[in-house]
């Protein structure tokens, strides 16, 4: 079922959690809302669920305006970061809850409920835990039960709020692959919130990057990673180095080195910041058109070597990734001075670069 969010705004006191946000989600899609904490991504999810009422804007599910509808009548499945299982009920009763609270006329029979619950527990591969209580389960198991419970009401859409946020790294990786497979099986329109870029890029069909209550970019994982639309997205997805330069008629000048910037064809001599991924920085022999830097650290990680350098002129830290064989051919050691030249860059004009450590 499709979800359409139109010009939604939401304030908490003076804090603007969402500012005029619009988003379309296609039926059967798995979408990630990605952003730093406090960016408004969870608020957006709660607005779709009906747990928050937007100050302005509309929410449509399957073409129907649900903005005014009570959360209990929306038929959304919701998975909480901290599971929110009913602690005094068994796993079976937890999953059965959504069916048991239905009005008598539409409530399934006892046997039907039992069958449905057991089949859901099998789907999440935990049918052997039916008689346990939530506190007897591990975090990963609890989250799968929470998912089974959300699916029991046959929701129109599934919403997950940082579903793996409280789990340790290994379980988190397992569970997100499992979620992806599950989604491919049941094809339920799903939206999940995360602050982990790796998680969003690995699991989602499309990624929505949210910052300060606004949507920065929407696209496939490949899209947003390779073609970030804004400086924020560039910094948020993957590591990035910033170089100051100038752009003139489609040609950029970074420390005397010329690079193509075709998107700024019409721009005449403007200050610009070059955003360069670590693997797009070259280490060259001494030359006028390069930046001198000292090697601080070199760490070999499998087939690549990650170098951390500090620029001689500004002291800024630059990260460089080199193929291992190339690094070995170069005779670089810590403390040595080398020369950096961006090979490929994306330019943003007149942006004052935020000097945060890239996430």
């Amino acid at each position: 079922m499709s979800i359409r969010i139109e010009n939604v705004s939401k304030k908490f006191g003076v804090f603007e959690a969402l500012h005029d946000v619009s988003l379309d989600i296609a039926p059967g899609e798995l979408v990630a809302l990605l952003g730093p904490s406090g960016s408004g991504k969870t608020t957006l999810l709660r607005v779709i669920a009906g747990l928050e009422i937007p100050d302005a804007g509309r929410v449509h599910v399957q073409g129907e305006d649900t903005t005014e509808r009570n959360a209990r009548d929306r038929g959304v499945g919701f998975v909480f970061q901290h599971y929110a299982l009913f602690r005094h009920m068994t796993i079976f009763e937890n999953v059965a809850f959504g069916l048991r609270v239905r009005p008598r006329a539409v409530r399934p029979s006892k046997e039907a409920i039992r069958e449905k619950v057991m089949s859901l527990l099998k789907l999440v591969q935990l049918d052997w835990l039916a008689d346990r209580y939530p506190h007897q389960l591990s975090g990963g198991q609890r989250q799968r039960i929470a998912l089974a419970r959300a699916l029991a009401i046959e929701p129109k859409v599934l919403l997950l709020d940082e579903p793996f946020g409280a789990l340790d790294a290994k379980v988190r990786r397992e569970l997100r692959r499992w979620l992806r497979r599950l989604h491919d099986e049941i094809h339920l329109t799903s939206v999940f919130v995360t602050h982990d870029q790796e998680e969003a890029l690995e699991v989602a069909d499309r990624v929505v990057i949210v910052n300060r209550g606004r949507i920065e970019q929407v696209g496939t994982p490949g899209d947003v990673y390779d073609h970030p639309a804004t400086p924020f997205v560039y910094q948020f997805l993957g590591n990035v180095n910033l170089f100051e330069g100038r752009v003139n008629r489609g040609i950029a000048d970074v420390s005397g080195r010329r690079l193509a910037a075709p998107e700024y064809d019409g721009v005449v001599d403007a200050r610009a910041t070059a955003y360069v991924r670590p693997h797009d920085v070259d280490i060259v022999q001494e030359s006028a058109s390069a930046v001198a830097a000292t090697v601080d650290h070199a760490v070999a990680l499998g087939s690549v070597v990650r170098l951390e350098l500090s620029r001689k002129d500004t002291g800024d830290v630059v990260e460089v990734e080199l193929p291992r064989d190339r690094y070995e051919g170069m005779n670089i050691s810590e403390g040595k001075v080398v020369y950096l030249a961006p090979r490929r860059a994306r330019f943003f004009i007149n942006e004052t670069p935020t000097k945060t450590a890239s996430a």
Partner: protein
């Protein structure tokens, strides 16, 4: 108690240190026990000793006397109304305070604590000022032939006022600690407000609720100050058990006074046993 302490110390510290510091816990435990013996156990024993000093027959006669029975009935009636009323109020107040944000929330919390901070005598006087003959509503009430002060309604009102923080105070921190997630989950699964209350909210605070009710009941039956002001001390009519005991004592009927006091003491012991049992169950069920 000493055994528990000993085990704790030997588990935590090496043998040498244990020997050196053994006198400190022994001294503290001894002091605490002596204090308890002097100020709690001795008076409690005295109540039963005085009550039974003239024999079982006198004791039985004292507590089966008609005025005494009237006092017991009135005490049970007042508690029987005050406790359910405060149970309903306590749940509603705790739910509102713990789960919703609204203007004046901290004012409400302060108001709930008011009976704890106000002297019971003052609480009683407030009712006299409002409902008494010279009070704000007094003339209107007497026109309609309704009597609140020096009558049962006044006693019930005073008891409700004095005991109303107990349930709410017990539930508010518990509900706040549990957060809103489970309730939000229940709502999204289609539960209505009634199902939410009975299937999610109340089962989660079950033991805190029972604990609050026990404390509330104990206080409702033992309340003296506020009830004393509004009661008027009419024998067999507006005397609760604590008031009845005071009258007997003032009339030098010591044995009868202590006999009735022993009823309250037994009640206190039962409350204590229930409270301990609830705490034990709670500890067992909480993961």
């Amino acid at each position: 108690m000493a055994a528990v302490l000993d085990r704790a110390v030997s588990g935590a510290a090496p043998r040498e240190r244990r020997r050196r510091f053994a006198w400190a816990p022994a001294l503290l435990v001894g002091a605490a026990l002596a204090y308890l013996a002097l100020f709690l156990f001795a008076p409690l024993a005295a109540v039963f000793y005085e009550a039974l000093r003239k024999g079982w027959d006198v004791y039985a006669a004292a507590i089966s006397e008609s005025d005494a029975w009237a006092a017991v009935r009135l005490t049970l009636l007042a508690a029987g109304i005050a406790v359910p009323a405060n149970l309903a109020f306590g749940i509603a107040a705790a739910w509102t305070i713990a789960k919703f944000d609204f203007r004046g929330k901290s004012l409400l919390v302060t108001l709930i604590d008011l009976p704890f901070s106000v002297s019971p005598v003052v609480s009683g006087l407030i009712y006299v000022l409002v409902f008494g003959l010279q009070g704000w509503l007094g003339p209107w009430l007497s026109e309609h032939d309704a009597k609140v002060i020096f009558a049962v309604p006044g006693i019930v009102l005073a008891t409700i006022f004095v005991t109303f923080p107990f349930v709410a105070r017990e539930l508010i921190p518990l509900m706040q600690a549990q957060g809103r997630d489970e309730e939000e989950a229940a709502v999204l699964l289609g539960a209505n407000a009634w199902q939410l209350l009975w299937r999610v909210t109340l089962p989660n605070v079950k033991w805190g609720l029972i604990y609050g009710v026990i404390l509330c009941t104990a206080r409702a039956m033992g309340e003296f100050g506020a009830v004393s002001v509004v009661s008027g001390h009419i024998r067999g009519m507006t005397n609760t058990l604590p008031l009845h005991i005071e009258i007997l004592y003032n009339e030098y009927q010591f044995t009868a006074a202590f006999a009735c006091a022993s009823l309250l003491a037994i009640l206190a012991l039962v409350t204590l046993a229930l409270k301990t049992w609830v705490e034990w169950r709670q500890a067992k069920e909480t993961p």
